[in-house]
Amino acid sequence: MSTLTLPRLALSAEFRTIVQRLLAVLALCIVLSVLSGAFLTVGNLVNVLRQAALIFLLASGLTLVILTAGLDLSIGANVGLSACLAGSVIQATGSPLLGAAVGLGSGCAIGLGNGLLVTVLRLPPFIATYGMLWVVHGLTYWFMAGATIHGFPPAFRALGSGYWLSVPIPVYLMFAFLAVGIGFARYTTWGQEIYAIGANPVAARLSGIPVNRRLVLVYTVSGAMAGLASLIFLARLNSAEGDIGEPLTLPAIAAVLIGGTSLFGGVGTVSGTLVGALILTLVLNGMNLLAIDANWQPLVTGVIVILAVSLDVLTHRGGSASR
């Protein structure tokens, strides 16, 4: 009660995080444009956005999962399998639509699997999705038998490498799904319920929220976004291999965390995740432009994650990093 006179405004706190992050992005841009002439060119900024788009699409679904205090380690593997399935379907049938459907479908299916493991079998998300990661990898390897699938119709490849008004298609997708994400999280009752589940699943359940169904939903959405990402990957690379997705898992998680979403659930925003993805991409892009040895990248990423989250905790927003 002693703190009753110190109001903590949940919304403003989230707002504050976003602002902090955007400032960080701005600072990064300034530094980079000073360091490298090549940075502040349209082409490069387009690159940054396009590379950020992929991470964001993965991370946006993951954000919802983490909002429920969950986790999905299988998204990378998911991208791999979905891409391979979609790719082979497109080659077999020549129909991008069918392929896309299959890609999204397998993404959803894997997500659904995670959801069921977490709800029906009540497994800790970390382990459930880690197990799923292995299963999915196994299926992928078995399905691909070491081959690669490549060469897709231009119509499909536009999804990844196409432009419209000299802006890459993935970037449009990124902003489209940013809008969808924000809309879903803030302006639907389901979004509200998901925040509540993250904040206190028991209370949510006893308030009549179908917790399990919502959890299955978020994991399925996360899987679907992985499926979508896999399509863009496919279209962009014009080929599919078993393990294309794996290098994306940790960056995606990092993007969510840098974006100010709390692992303990109930706190965070999709827009934050976009900014997180941008920060990551900017840094890596900068390192490439400055021809810094790629081996430094994991190190730098690690530092950023710690910095970002300590910032949140030190300007302690409610609930995050308690415990």
Binding site: N47, R236, P247, A294
Partner: protein, 320 residues
């Protein structure tokens, strides 16, 4: 429940042992680095094919985590216990696998070293290509095509892997031969298409004019091509390995050329060599496959799925 699981495990293992007992003809254990690189798939297929022809059986060992050193170590432990008649071995790391090789030698199992030359250990023979020569000659090919001048970028493979080290030496020596060609940048794409794609995109930002790209493998070459297409720019690109995809790109006139790494042939010859050794036939100390560059003029024979390819005749490949 717990018991059911245990029983399941038990069943697998029992089966494992019985499986170990059965199987006719010589058993050859084939070690490759990962399940994702098509090159090793070609190696495996070649090995299978050769074994079938000489009615022996092949057991494939591939780390569940791509290129995992501890895992290949464990697989060696397990295989040594199982005592196959011979082993065809690609080290995931040419230095770090030394103890593993020692184990196989200690167990007196004849080992054929393939693709990456292991640092230490005794082998029946080494089957592989000369990465340095591959790098040198494909590099030359590109620079010749460019008329000996122009801005070049190199996409390196995984630093520290010997194949990459040798190919880089080759590329750079080729560049030395053409003083008018300028090396703009040399960055790792870790043999991966996506990384190569993004590295290329970024390089194109720093360098408005890129004439030639030397990629340490085909996957990266394809990545570079995608990046160029995306930016509506053109440059001559060469890769190494001669994968099916590369061959098709050459056919389509996108890729300039690819140095053949003879994955399938390596598979064939390594198993054949192992069997010849077991059957007391002569085997040379090393079988270095000639460097041949696949380009528009000669791609046809390569343009078939690995499944349909057949092993070349031993005597044609191996001059004694």
């Amino acid at each position: 429940m717990r018991r059911r699981l245990s029983v399941a495990v038990a069943a697998i293992l029992a089966a494992g042992l019985s499986g170990a007992v059965r199987a006719e003809g010589e058993k050859i254990a084939v070690f490759t680095k990962n399940q994702t690189n098509p090159f090793f798939q070609a190696v495996r297929l070649g090995a299978e094919n050769a074994a079938r022809q000489m009615n022996a059986t092949v057991l494939q060992y591939v780390p569940t985590k791509p290129d995992s050193i501890p895992e290949q170590m464990s697989q060696i432990d397990d295989v040594v216990v199982k005592k196959p008649d011979a082993i065809v071995f690609t080290p995931v790391d040419y230095k770090a696998m030394t103890p593993g090789v020692a184990k196989m030698n200690a167990a007196n199992i004849p080992v054929v070293n393939i693709t990456d030359r292991a640092e230490k250990g005794t082998f029946v023979t080494f089957v592989g290509s000369n990465d340095y020569q591959l790098g040198l000659q494909t590099g030359r090919y590109l620079l010749k095509a460019l008329g000996g001048k122009g801005n070049i970028v190199i996409l390196e493979g995984v630093r520290g892997v010997i194949t990459n080290a040798d190919r880089m030496r080759g590329f750079n020596d080729a560049l030395k031969e053409f003083p008018n060609a300028k090396l703009l940048a040399s960055q790792p794409g870790n043999y991966q298409r996506m990384q190569a794609l993004q590295v290329m995109e970024n390089l194109m930002q720093s360098y408005p004019q890129i004439d030639g790209v030397m990629a340490a493998n085909d996957a990266m070459a394809m990545g570079a091509l995608e990046a160029l297409e995306g930016a509506k720019r053109t440059a001559l690109v060469i890769g190494i390995n001669g994968t099916k995809e590369a061959v098709e790109a050459i056919k389509a006139g996108k890729l300039l050329a690819s140095g053949d790494y003879h994955g399938y042939t390596q598979g064939c010859l390594s198993v054949t060599a192992a069997l010849r050794y077991l059957r007391k036939q002569s085997v040379p100390k090393e079988i270095i496959l000639p460097v041949s560059i696949i380009d528009k003029s000669n791609y046809q024979p390569y343009d078939v799925a690995p499944e349909q390819r057949t092993c070349p005749k031993w005597d044609e490949m191996v001059k004694q």
